[in-house]
């Protein structure tokens, strides 16, 4: 597969994982070093890291819906310090560049988070999760142009690494938010994150998820992702990383045709840890049709 350039970082191909949909360290425990030989992605994106450790939401955290999954994981993570101490050395062993996803609950926090990782050569890219639907401020920031610009400004000031702004699909006008992010210094835009949803318990009819509401992903959101990626790609000059409902090469080709420069596989990883590799192979068949952006 042809080598691509994402914000100055060379990738062997256009396929990333969606943040929070693949844990390379856990996968290595399950699959051993064969995982490294057959690594499914061309760039690895970490689960979103926060300044303080988080336990995440109480279970149940998963609901299977028509052609999709609703999750309320709640961003469990070690906190940036222990992530850098315990996880980074292992992630540095991966055969592909590393992108760390971060979320700050205030501009100060975001700035501090970014500072913590700024100096580390093992980290090639930083993704700002402005959109996690399970943490209130997340939705608000990524859905609002001003808020998004402010967050980008805070992060931009503390790093020279490429910054990817991951938008919220709850934005009424994602293109406007993307334009604001670009203006405030984003080097790339990624979307879509999960759509807010709330399944009910089959018998009690109370919210099923421990976090009450969750995020919808999978084939059910495919056409929504295509529309948002196309409208954002039409508005901004920076590269767009498209994701949402990719389950085969055709879906990846669709997102690239809609204007994305790279794509990320999320929920499909849960059906097959090698989904990224399979999709890359299927995509190769479409590639000649894909307009290089």
């Amino acid at each position: 597969m042809s080598e691509i350039d994402l914000c100055g970082v060379g990738l062997r191909g256009p396929i990333l994982n969606g943040s929070g949909t693949f844990d390379a360290i856990a996968a290595r425990r399950a699959f051993g070093d064969l995982l490294l030989d057959r690594f499914p992605f061309d760039c690895f994106v970490s689960k979103t890291i926060t300044l303080q450790p988080r336990e995440g939401n109480p279970p149940p955290r998963l609901w299977e819906t028509a052609s999709g999954l609703v999750n309320s994981i709640g961003l469990p993570n070690k906190g940036v310090r222990r992530f850098l101490e315990l996880d980074l050395p292992l992630l540095a062993e991966l055969p592909v560049p590393l992108c760390v996803s971060v979320m700050g609950f205030s501009h100060e926090e975001l700035a501090r988070l970014v500072e913590e990782i700024e100096a580390l050569d093992e980290i090639s890219l930083i993704e700002l999760n402005l959109s996690c639907p399970n943490v209130e401020t997340g939705t608000l920031v990524g859905a609002d142009p001003e808020e998004t610009a402010a967050a980008l400004t805070a992060a931009r000031a503390s790093t020279d690494k490429p910054l990817i702004a991951k938008l919220s699909p709850s934005a009424t006008d994602p293109a406007a938010v993307a334009a604001a992010a670009e203006l405030a210094g984003a080097d790339a835009i990624s979307l879509i994150n999960t759509l807010k949803g709330m399944p009910l318990h089959p018998t009690t009819r109370e919210p099923w998820l421990g976090g009450r509401t969750g995020g919808l992903s999978g084939p059910a959101v495919r056409v929504v992702a295509l529309e948002q990626v196309a409208s954002v790609a039409a508005r901004v000059d920076v590269p767009v990383i498209g994701m949402g409902g990719i389950s085969c090469g055709r879906d990846a080709a669709d997102l690239l045709a809609a204007g994305a420069s790279a794509v990320a596989v999320g929920t499909e990883n849960f059906r097959d840890p090698a989904a990224g590799r399979r999709i890359a192979a299927e995509l190769a068949a479409f590639e000649q049709k894909v307009p290089a952006k």
Partner: protein, 273 residues
């Protein structure tokens, strides 16, 4: 068997296709035997596989199933000359996924990922293994008993079922397991924890291995804790991936939430919160 630091046999890093060899009705349950051509020959009892039908996975009740489903292997038969292994799964039909898998026929394909998670660990020298299975939870108990027997260890096996229909699964065991049913339609009318208590009071030098419904596991855990007997419990949780990717399958432990699929499914009783 491979002597791993923790009883975890590694899985190939991709979903693969196994051929369904046999599907059998065992009382209230379905027994699916599938040939895994390339997977490891030594999955550890207590480990599990993520399964999906090769075709028509989806389109069931409310357009489900969509994600694969987790199943302990219940029995493994190694085939001569690297032809792979025959894996047996014991299923209870509780929804669209188990229903679809139960509809599989010999010759059809089964999508499979595994073995996954951590299995049962050997007891220390001074303790005898004591196996306890409740309902469909007998699955991992069956292969654990198989393996202990293969090593010449004849463990006491205590099984509990709703009724005779479910108790039919007891016939799969090598020895003569002790059977209790809720309605007394087979074996003793009792909860499996009653014979367990008697066993442990007779001689507490045991390690208890248990799998079954949550209330049963809670009772086993409490009982063992009181008597200072180590317990290894095989848990269940709703799963999306089975290999630590989604963080969806957590259970509360003494040091926070743990993922049942990678940190378990077998946990020490005292590790659970």
């Amino acid at each position: 068997m491979s002597v791993a630091a923790e009883p975890r046999t590694l899985a190939p890093p991709e979903r693969r296709i196994a051929e369904v060899k046999r599907v059998e009705r065992i009382g209230a349950y379905d027994l699916i035997v599938a040939r895994d051509p390339v997977g490891p020959a030594d999955p550890q009892p207590g480990q599990f596989y993520m399964l999906a039908s090769g075709e028509r996975w989806g389109g069931g009740d409310r357009e489900r199933p969509y994600l694969p489903r987790a199943f302990s292997f219940a029995r493994v038969r190694r085939l001569p000359g690297g032809q792979g292994v025959d894996l047996s799964f014991l299923l209870e039909d509780v929804g669209p996924g188990t229903q679809r898998l139960g509809e599989l026929a010999a010759g059809e394909s089964l999508m499979l990922l595994g073995p996954l998670g951590v299995g049962f660990a050997r007891p220390s020298q001074d303790r005898r293994p004591l196996l306890v299975g409740g309902g469909i939870g007998v699955a991992p108990i069956l292969c654990w008993d198989d393996e202990l027997r293969a090593d010449g260890v004849e463990a006491a096996v205590l099984l509990g079922f709703r009724s005779a229909g479910h108790a039919a699964a007891a016939a799969l065991f090598g020895g003569a397991p002790d059977v209790s049913t809720d309605d007394g339609s087979a074996g003793r009318r009792a909860l499996v924890t009653e014979p367990l208590r008697a066993e442990l009071e007779r001689d507490p030098h045991a390690t208890v291995y248990a799998c079954g419904p949550e209330p049963m596991l809670d009772a086993v855990r409490g009982l063992c804790a009181n008597l200072g007997v180590p317990a290894q419990l095989a848990l269940e949780a709703g799963m999306a991936c089975g290999y630590g990717a989604c963080f969806g399958c957590v259970v509360a432990t003494v040091d926070g939430y743990a993922r049942v699929c990678v940190d378990g499914p077998v946990f020490a009783g005292e590790a659970l919160a």
